[in-house]
Amino acid sequence: MNDMRIVRKDVDMNDTKISAKGVQVYYGDTHAIKDVDVEIKDKTVTAFIGPSGCGKSTFLRCLNRMNDTIDICRVEGKIELDGEDIYDKRVDPVQLRAKVGMVFQKPNPFPKSIYDNIAYGPRIHGLAKNKADLDEIVEKSLRRGAIWDEVKDRLHAPGTGLSGGQQQRLCIARAVATEPEVLLMDEPCSALDPIATLQVEELIDELRENFSVVIVTHSMQQAARVSQKTAFFHLGNLVEYGDTEQIFTNPKDERTESYITGRIG
């Protein structure tokens, strides 16, 4: 078993892709995210780690304004994508979400065929010129989602009839199919076996060449393996944010250390 290896490739830590300043999120009266500042770099994988319920998903959902759909959720502060405030009135959340794709924590395939699940994004964004094109996109995405072999014979079976892990990979493939500039993945490998996990991690690595990826994970190994930057959340606070190597080898905050060494949860 080779979990402990920390993959490290040459990365050019380019410009900031997303910058968040003073972000506060409330669910009704609950203060879920407390004054978080973070800069997410382009062509980089950023990992959000932290104990369950600390606000990782919440913060992630702020980045493409998915929180808009929760009535009681209120977001304050400033989040910029490529220097543009995404909470600006003029911003069309639809266009934002096309750029900032998302894989949700709970797999949520559409009640449609596997093919239609994948083809959905390309269709609405007009990414395919014709049927052959679309077929190609679907196949490519399913391959990238490491699920092609399992479903290639049942592309027209419903996506809801897949196993848990298959659904998760389907959702990853679905998100990848729209070719977003930033991909937010909320625990994308939670239901995957090691091999599938590895394949997804390879995908993430591949995506990093052109895009920015933010991944929420509970597996320290995974964070260490795939990310270049890591943010540690605790009770709604961003406790520490820095290079993955530094966070895992030399955490500045003692809470980070406790978490990484398995003392707080």
């Binding site: 994508l81 490529d82 543009e84 995404i86 600006d88 003029r90 911003v91 069309d92 639809v94 266009q95 934002l96 096309a98 750029k99 083809a119 269709r123 609405i124 964004h125 007009g126 990414l127 395919a128 010129k129 014709n130 049927k131 094109d133 679309l134 729209t178 070719e179 977003p180 500039e181 052109n210």
Partner: protein, 452 residues
């Protein structure tokens, strides 16, 4: 929506675009979005517009029905006419019919007019009686029979004016329109005006319209919707207490317990089909089953309620099944997984989640039942029926009665235009009744609504 847009190819991922500037495609999509939303608003606005238009015409037409013109005059209850034997024997008193009372009231009116110095512009003084409703004789007679001691005294009575006089004060009748009318002459209106001036006649709110009973064709001024409202009330009780539980129970069985086979399909198709059966056919069925076979009384709200129950069931079943279907299976799994029985999972989890849809079905089904006339035609609830409030609950279910829509339908058909106004007034009351019923269901429904 077409699947592909070949015109401007892929737009994502290639050139960086600002969030503030919308790409052509986004613009198009957003335009579609706006259109879609506008359609939605338009749809609702259109629906509400129709509602307002309908309500407006209903209210405008119906409001006058709530007011009525009354004449207050003293009537001398002459013993010589009412109790020839002078022994106050009820049996003897009852022998004097309304035809005997009529002249009494007429002369009282003449006396009252003369006292006030109002000129009676008719060759035959008696013709002035057309100012009064033909119900007055019965009113005086009832009072006397209820209290024979009044005989010999002069008693003040508040009597209904005839519908034409009433219509005059409501603007429905004019002197010109009376020229060819043999029921009333323009001179009557002069007298009426004078009576108003003298304080003998007054148009005021008429609770009898809301609480009273139907009257015959010739006395629109006396007719009220109260008794048929009671009829509707008892019918709705029957419908609510039968259709809702039976409908929900049937849906639960079909959706949750019935084995998925041809039989269930047959039942399902059958129920949808029942919804398309014309309501009058339910009347045919009701006549055959409840009256001719089960010997339930004719014209009874109980029978009406049973027939309407059968008619409403499909509506409730269809909506209930649809909402049961919409409950995600994971909820059922969760309950079964902690060892709940199927029955428990349905009653504890699925049913509450399906409640909004069930209540919607109930609202719509009851509204339909409340407004339905055709099936009542065949079981004897349309016509000239209720003339008395039922005394007691059993009588409410069993003694002959009509229903609000049937009453309104009858009124709308009657010749005297005064009934037309009452029909609209009746519709107002029907709608108030309906909304009261709905509000309860709507409040309940809001408590169950939650998206998860």
């Amino acid at each position: 929506m077409s699947d592909f847009t070949a015109d401007n190819g892929p737009t994502n991922g290639t050139a960086k675009t600002s969030l503030f500037t919308q790409t052509a495609r986004t613009k198009r999509r957003n335009a579609a979005e706006t259109r879609f939303k506008v359609y939605g608003i338009g749809a609702i606005a259109l629906g509400l517009f129709f509602l307002v238009a309908l309500l407006f015409s209903i209210v405008a037409n119906g409001i006058p029905a709530f007011k009525q013109t009354f004449v207050t005059i003293p009537v001398e209850l002459t013993e010589a006419k009412l109790d020839k034997n002078g022994n106050r024997d009820p049996a003897d008193l009852a022998k004097v019919t309304t035809f005997g009372y009529k002249p009494l009231v007429t002369s009282a009116l003449i006396v009252a007019l003369k006292e006030q110095g109002i000129e009676i512009p008719f060759a035959k003084e008696k013709d002035v009686e057309d100012i009064l409703s033909s119900s007055v004789a019965a009113q005086v007679r009832d009072t006397v029979l209820a209290n024979p001691d009044l005989i010999g005294q002069t008693v003040d009575f508040r009597l209904l004016a005839s519908s034409r006089v009433d219509g005059y004060f409501k603007g429905r009748v004019t002197r010109e329109s009376l020229v060819r009318d043999k029921n009333l002459d323009a001179e009557h209106l002069d007298v009426a005006d004078a009576m108003v001036d003298a304080g003998l006649m007054k148009t005021s709110f008429n609770p009898a319209f809301i609480f009273g009973s139907d009257a015959s064709e010739s006395r629109p001024e006396q007719a009220g919707i109260g008794v048929s409202m009671i009829g509707s009330f008892f019918m709705m009780i029957v419908v609510l207490f039968l259709a809702l539980p039976i409908g929900v129970a049937a849906s639960i069985y079909l959706e949750e317990f019935a084995p998925q086979n041809k039989w269930t399909d047959l039942i399902e198709v059958n129920i949808s089909n029942l919804a398309a059966v014309p309501s009058i056919v339910f009347g045919i069925l009701g006549l055959a089953v409840f009256i001719q076979f089960a010997h339930l009384p004719q014209s009874a709200p109980l029978v009406g309620g049973l027939v309407l129950t059968l008619m409403t069931l499909p509506t409730i079943i269809i909506s209930t099944r649809a909402s049961l279907k919409a409950v995600p299976p994971s909820i059922r799994d969760a309950a079964l997984g902690v060892g709940a029985s199927k029955m428990q999972s349905v009653f504890h989890h699925v049913l509450p989640l399906a409640m909004p849809g069930i209540l919607t079905g109930t609202i719509i089904g009851l509204a339909q039942a409340l407004g339905e006339t055709a099936p009542l035609l065949l079981i004897g609830m349309v016509g000239f029926i209720a003339s008395n409030m039922p005394d007691g609950i059993t009588a409410g279910f069993l003694s002959p009665n009509s229903a609000m829509p049937a009453q309104i339908y009858e009124w709308a058909k009657r010749a005297d235009p005064a009934y037309y106004e009452r029909a609209w007034g009746g519709i107002i009351i029907l709608l108030v009744f309906l909304m009261t019923m709905n509000i309860i269901a709507v409040i309940l429904r809001r408590r169950f609504e939650r998206r998860w």
